[in-house]
Symmetry: C2
Subunit: 213 residues, 2 copies
C-alpha cells in the first residue's frame, strides 16, 4: 500500500537537504519545520542570509564566559559582575545560563550569580568535579560573601548539590538560603502534589510579607 | 507591580542577543525558542557551528532553480525534468516548492511539475505577471503536453488561477484536470464543511476505482 511511503521526504536538491539536516539537529526542530525555515531563508536575499550565517558563527567564535561567575559575557568579566550598583556580596547559585536570564527577567534580584554548569547527577555521569564548585568555594572565601542563594531545580539532584556545596563550605560563616518552593502563582491548590503543598504549609509566610512583593 | 516586567528578556551578551534576534526572524520561532537554539549551538564545538553556518550560506548562494519547471535544483535542469523514466508529457501545476515535495512524497505521480511561485491574489498584490505563467504556456505549446494537472490550493485564488491559465491555453488541445477535492482520509463526515461535502458527492467515484489506489 502506497500510504506507508508518506513518511519519506525526498528533497530535490542536496544543498537543500544538507541545510534541512543541519536545522533538524536543533532542539525541538523536526524535518518539516526545518524545511519551512530553509525555504524561508531561500526567499531572503543572499546578503541577509550570509549575514544570518555570519552572526551565528561569530557568536560561537567570540563569545566568552565570565571568569568570576561563568555567565556568558562579551568580555572577561560579565556586565552583572562589573556592575557596582549590584550587591557583590550576595551570590545566587544557578544551574545554567537560562536560569540567570529567567531570574534577571523578574528584576527581583540585585546580587551576582554563579553558574554551576549543571547539577550533581550520578545517573548522568555528572560529578562535582565537572561543575564550577571549586571556583564557588574559592570565590565565597576570598570575597567574604554574605549570602549564598541556591536557585536550583527542586528535585533530588538539586538537593544533593546544595548539600554537597554546603558541606564544602562549613568552615565559612556565610548565610545560605534557597528560593521558596510552594504553590505557583495561578496554580490550582487541588492539583498541587503533596510534597509541594506540604512544603508550602510548613514554610508559610505572614500575610504582610507576602503582599509586599 | 513587578509582574509586568516578566515579558522583558535581558540577555547578558550582545553577541548572544544578535544571534537570538536572527533566529527569531525564522517563521514560527519566538524569542524563547530562539534562545534555546542559540544555547544549544553554544554547547557545540566551534568547528561544527561554523560548518552549520557555512552550509546555510552556501545553500542560499549556490542553489539554482530549474529553467524548465522553476523547482529547486542543483543544476540548470532539476532531477525530475532530467529523469527520462518520468512522463515528460504530463505537467502538474503547483504553487510552490513545498507542494512538489508533498506530492513527491506520495509516490503517486510520475509526470513533471511546474512551480508557479504563488497564486493570483489581487488582495495581496499578486497578479499573473509575477507568476511563472508565461513559461508554462510556452512550455505546454512547445512540448506538446498531453495533460495539465492543477494541484493548487482549494480556494477562490486557486480557482481564479486555474481559470486564468485555462483561458490563456484555450487554443491548445491539452487535457486539463485538477486534483480531487473531497473528504480527507481519516476525516469525520459530520465535521466537513458543506462545500467540500457537496463536491465530494457530485464527484463521486465507482467503488472499484476507489479501491484501486
Amino acid at each position: 500500500m502506497p500510504i506507508y511511503y508518506l513518511c519519506l521526504m525526498q528533497l530535490p536538491s542536496s544543498l537543500l537537504e544538507n541545510a534541512v539536516n543541519e536545522f533538524a539537529k536543533l532542539p525541538g526542530i523536526g524535518k518539516k519545520t526545518a524545511l519551512r525555515m530553509v525555504l524561508y531563508l531561500l526567499k531572503q536575499d543572499v546578503a541577509s542570509v550570509e549575514n544570518f550565517s555570519e552572526i551565528i558563527a561569530k557568536m560561537r567564535r567570540d563569545i566568552k564566559f565570565c571568569q568570576r561567575c561563568h555567565n556568558i559575557s562579551d568580555g572577561d568579566i560579565c556586565a552583572i559582575c562589573a556592575n557596582s550598583f549590584r550587591n557583590q556580596r550576595i551570590i545566587c547559585v544557578v544551574e545554567n545560563i537560562r536560569d540567570v536570564i529567567a531570574i534577571e527577567s523578574t528584576q527581583q534580584f540585585n546580587g551576582t550569580y554563579h553558574v554551576l554548569g549543571g547539577i550533581i547527577s550520578p545517573l548522568d555521569g555528572i560529578g562535582p568535579d565537572q561543575l564550577n564548585i571549586e571556583s564557588l568555594v574559592y570565590r565565597t572565601e576570598k570575597e567574604q560573601t554574605e549570602e549564598l542563594v541556591f536557585a536550583l531545580s527542586p528535585n533530588i539532584q538539586g538537593d544533593t548539590t546544595i548539600y554537597y556545596i554546603q558541606k564544602k563550605m562549613h568552615h565559612l560563616s556565610c548565610r545560605v538560603t534557597t528560593i521558596a518552593r510552594g504553590i505557583a502563582f495561578g496554580g490550582e491548590l487541588e492539583y498541587a502534589d503533596e510534597l509541594t503543598l506540604a512544603r508550602s504549609i510548613s514554610n508559610r509566610l505572614p500575610v504582610e510579607k507576602f503582599v509586599k512583593l
